[in-house]
């Protein structure tokens, strides 16, 4: 039982017996379901969220939230809280035995509002999402509502839901299945969820301690305190530390979870890696096996899968939650535009076109990392160990060391919503907009905070005023964002007169060397699926 966190329990409220059709029903008040509900609500859409439980995520789950996720949560109003409470970090170190063989800095250049990562327990994020959802007045979260049957229809879905007061029926125009890796909706629609299981087990121990240790990600291969396996150490909020021991396939999960056994393991590790005799308390222990797999398609008419229900990865690389939040970011504005009658229903197909390649990228990276950490054959083991041998002595072998390639935002290359161009460099169509330090009317600010929400036209030194545009100027000018360090022009490869059309999810839709209202309007309707 966590000692640093008091689990909230939310009140169950009975559902009415007969209700009109809800435009959107989200199944699962987890990280992804709450994010998509909040995003939709902030776009003026009423959402019902059903969850079988009455609380937030329990125990050790996601801790690493990537820069892109922080940007999305900043757009939704939670960014500051996450930065304030979370542990910010940019650097990872990898050891073979006790020797450091490789380190990486995930954010080598300054001039971004957000760090590469913050570490924060998933339950905090979910708790704040619940509060933010409630504050919109548009999200109706129904706790202790377990979906027990689904009948998909052409114009939506009918759900049977078990509640403490018995079964109720709900009708949804759109059903967003955010019910996690064991998705009931996926299973009841009989959709195959294919991929691979890794024959390995990992012990996750969260411990509370006061440690003089830097906010970095440390990863050991074959350390003397855990011979033959790997170990990962990471700091979270509240002086909680995540320690992850690779146990191997033959380990007995029940025996490994015994507190005495875990304490002995942890003490041996901390004595050597952190400080001899350091005191700690066990906060939470669990044993996991990992898989990488996905649904063939995420959209099935009016039923759309997001997050772990759609795709699952191993945690090396922190791509599960971060990938799911990007699903929500991608879908919310599209569904809102369709529901408001501003875009054809076909726009929703672009969710598959954009997020399936993104899921494949996450699966590929996390599979490769897991294959490095858990080699499948003797030959694979020999190649892995050879890389570690050589990396200790030669720089060339260090980039081959793979302890997890940490989550990067998806660049929606080849998206049907993008207008292609022949620019050299900058932020290409499909990529998320880049941040830059700017100043407006003397006050320091960040460019990204003013992009997204709706379509935004970003105009660099426009020769004439453009209505509604966000203006970046190379010299201070009233109302404009002065590119005081030259980073905005440089990052966007912009010249005077350039304009960039940004989508509501902050991804670039189109770029032009000069403003042409017709070309911008055409790019906008293309981005709306017209």
């Amino acid at each position: 039982m966590p000692s640093t966190y008091a689990q909230p329990h939310y009140a169950y409220r009975p559902s009415p017996q007969a209700e009109a059709t809800h435009p959107v029903v989200v199944v699962g008040a987890g990280l992804v379901g709450l994010t998509v509900a909040l995003d939709l609500a902030q776009r003026g859409i009423d959402v019902v969220v059903l969850d079988d439980d009455d609380t937030v995520s329990f125990g050790s789950r996601a801790i690493c939230f990537a820069k892109r996720t922080l940007e999305i949560f900043s757009r939704l109003g939670l960014g500051e809280a996450m930065l304030a409470k979370g542990v910010q970090w940019n650097t990872g170190r990898v050891f073979a035995g006790v020797r450091e063989i490789w380190h990486f800095d995930l954010q080598p250049e300054p001039g971004h509002a957000h760090p590469a990562f913050v570490n924060l327990q998933q339950y905090y994020v979910e708790e704040w999402l619940v509060a933010a959802c409630e504050a919109t007045g548009r999200v109706d979260i129904r706790w202790k509502h377990r979906v027990s049957a689904i009948d998909p229809r052409e114009d939506g879905a009918v759900l049977s839901v078990d509640t403490p007061d018995g079964a109720v029926t709900l009708q949804a125009g759109w059903l967003l299945a955010c019910d996690g890796a064991r998705s009931f909706i996926r299973e009841s629609l009989g959709l195959p969820f294919v991929g691979q299981v890794f024959r390995d087990r990992f012990l996750i121990a969260d411990v509370v301690m006061q440690a003089p240790f830097p906010p970095e990600r440390w990863f050991w291969f074959d350390p003397p305190f855990h011979p033959g396996g790997s170990v990962l150490l990471h700091r979270q909020a509240d002086d909680v530390w995540r320690i992850d021991f690779q146990l191997g396939w033959d380990a007995d999960p029940e025996a490994e979870k015994q507190p005495e056994r875990v304490r002995a393991r942890v003490q041996a590790m901390l004595d050597m890696a952190v400080a001899p005799g350091i005191a700690f308390e066990l906060e939470w222990v669990s044993v996991y096996t990992f898989r990488c797999r996905r649904l063939e398609r995420f959209r099935h008419d009016r039923v759309i899968f997001l997050g772990d229900a759609a795709h699952q990865v191993s945690p090396f690389g922190a791509r599960g939650g971060n990938g799911g939040v990007q699903d929500a970011d991608n879908l919310a504005w599209k569904l809102a535009a369709v529901l408001r009658g501003e875009a054809p229903e076909a726009l929703i197909d672009s969710y598959d076109a954009e997020r399936i390649p993104a899921a494949d990228e996450n699966i590929s990276h996390s599979t490769r990392s897991t294959d490095f950490i858990t080699p499948k054959t003797k030959a694979a083991h020999a190649i892995r160990d050879a890389v570690l041998d050589l990396a200790a002595r030669h720089a060339f072998a260090r980039p081959l060391v793979n302890s997890g390639r940490l989550s990067r935002p998806a660049v929606l290359t080849g998206s049907p919503l993008s207008t292609q161009d022949d620019w050299d460099g900058g932020v290409p169509p499909g990529a998320p907009a880049q941040d830059a330090p700017v100043q407006r009317d003397g006050a320091p600010d960040w460019l990204l905070a003013h992009l997204g929400g709706d379509f935004t036209l970003l105009a660099f030194d426009p020769p004439a005023a453009i209505e509604g545009a966000v203006v970046v100027s190379s010299n201070p000018a009233p109302g404009a964002f002065w590119d005081s360090e030259g980073q905005a022009f440089a990052r966007y490869a912009a010249g005077p007169g350039s304009v960039v059309l940004i989508r509501p999810d902050q991804h670039v839709a189109a770029r032009f060397r000069a403003y042409d209202p017709e070309a911008v309007a055409a790019a906008r309707s293309r981005a709306l699926g017209a």
């Binding site: 083991h381 190649i383 160990d385 041998d389 060339f396």
Partner: protein, 64 residues
């Protein structure tokens, strides 16, 4: 450079063969595999082209 040069190029074939075999002297199977892997990685870096190494892998796998 994806071209894999299969023309005869080895300057001292008998010495090369002997060196490849002798390198494994006194090693058990696991250590041999690991040594072999180190040699491959060193040569791969020397070649510097993943595509060329992949062409060599394809050629090597043709023998079943």
């Amino acid at each position: 450079m994806t071209h894999l040069d299969l023309s005869p190029r080895i300057d001292d074939p008998d010495r090369l063969y002997a060196a490849l075999v002798e390198a494994h002297e006194g090693l058990d199977e696991a250590a041999s595999l690991r040594l072999q892997a180190r040699i491959i990685l060193l040569l791969a870096n020397h070649i510097g082209s993943t595509a060329t190494v992949c062409a060599a892998i394809d050629e090597a796998r043709r023998f079943g």
